[in-house]
Amino acid sequence: MATDVSPGQQRALAWSLLIAAVVWLVPANLLPIMAVTETGRGKASTIADGIWQLFEAGMPGIAIIVFIASLLVPFFKVLVLAVIYWRVPHENNPRISTRAYRLVYWIGRWSMLDVFVVALLAAVVEFGNLARVEPGPGILAFALAVVLTMLSAHAFSPQQLWIQDPDGADHGHA
């Protein structure tokens, strides 16, 4: 897509967006994503708490979906992208890397699931003092992490994996 920038610049941008995403993943998982207030008493819960609550409530299927979408996918995607970016200068199996890139490119958007669940709960559970759901600071960090990872994958183009010169020497660096 971005053909006017050099591969090196493109990769630097992809790396920096990825690192920013990793930084935001930390508060995203440590801070509460929402707070449930029932009859005056509040209870804040993080992403992991939410998954555990679903397990305890006897809904393992839903718990596994949420676990995959909001815990596994963000970390897995960051890791896979980092390995792909790392391997670019001496890529010896571009076909596998391109496949992995395509896979994480499309599963990354499913991490937005938790943000949508919080928005729905906050909008519908609004019974004044009896019960209400408030979004927590973690949701902001989490949304940022997901968007930054998506932008990082966007900044990279898989064509880079294929522009190998025969001697396998440097490309991208002048």
Binding site: R99, R102, M112, F116, A123, F127, P135
Partner: protein
């Protein structure tokens, strides 16, 4: 570029377009990127599906998705309510993100798909060039329109609320489910690269 040659978008290989269409999807021999869908692209029927999605879209946005009853109190929320709820207060950026992924991008997806499919019909007198701008919008909106994920979010929210209150699905949910299914059909059948080639071929005539 001529109509019978193209460059693979993923690995940049120059490829010759097969003269006769074989059954099944067509993939790049070098990087295995899917270059054309398994089905022929029929702009007329896809345009009809896009119009149907557009009709369902407004009620899906403003009608209540679900109704919650608890201790004699009840409350409903629509998709727009969810977006507005987060746009108030300190979580404004998240609200803007929701507005972008659930309202603006799906709308742009409908507009761009409609515009491109209209240009790809065989019996329109092609007035303009197959606007590259709309193609770009279409490609981006396929990724950033997230109503399908929102649907799964509704399912999870409803199960979570199930044990603390009575939850009834609302008319908005029905419209949203159908709209998302129709959009999924259009997106699967109208692959951007395939649509692009169809438009180029039409313009070349």
């Amino acid at each position: 570029m001529s109509a019978d040659a193209l460059q693979c978008p993923d690995c940049g290989t120059q490829l010759a377009v097969p003269a006769r269409r074989a059954r099944g999807a067509w993939r790049c021999p070098r990087c295995d990127s899917q270059l054309s869908g398994a089905w022929a692209l029929r702009p007329d029927s896809l345009l009809a599906l896009t119009v149907a999605t557009a009709v369902l879209w407004l009620p899906a946005l403003i009608l209540p998705l679900m109704r919650l009853e608890n201790l004699g109190l009840d409350r409903e929320a629509s998709l727009l309510d969810c977006v507005l709820r987060l746009m108030e207060g300190v979580y404004f950026p998240v609200g803007v993100l929701l507005l972008f992924t659930l309202v603006i991008m799906p709308l742009l997806n409908l507009l761009s798909a409609g515009r491109l499919l209209w240009a790809a019909r065989d019996h329109t007198s092609s007035t303009g060039q197959p606007a590259p701008f709309w193609m770009k919008v279409y490609r981006h909106s396929r990724e950033w329109a997230m109503t399908d994920i929102f649907l799964l979010g509704i399912l999870i929210a409803m199960t979570k609320l199930g044990d603390m209150a009575t939850v009834t699905p609302g008319p908005g949910l029905f419209c949203l489910v159908v709209a998302v299914l129709l959009r999924l059909i259009v997106e699967t059948l109208a692959q951007p690269d395939q649509l692009q080639r169809l438009l180029e071929a039409r313009n070349g005539d």
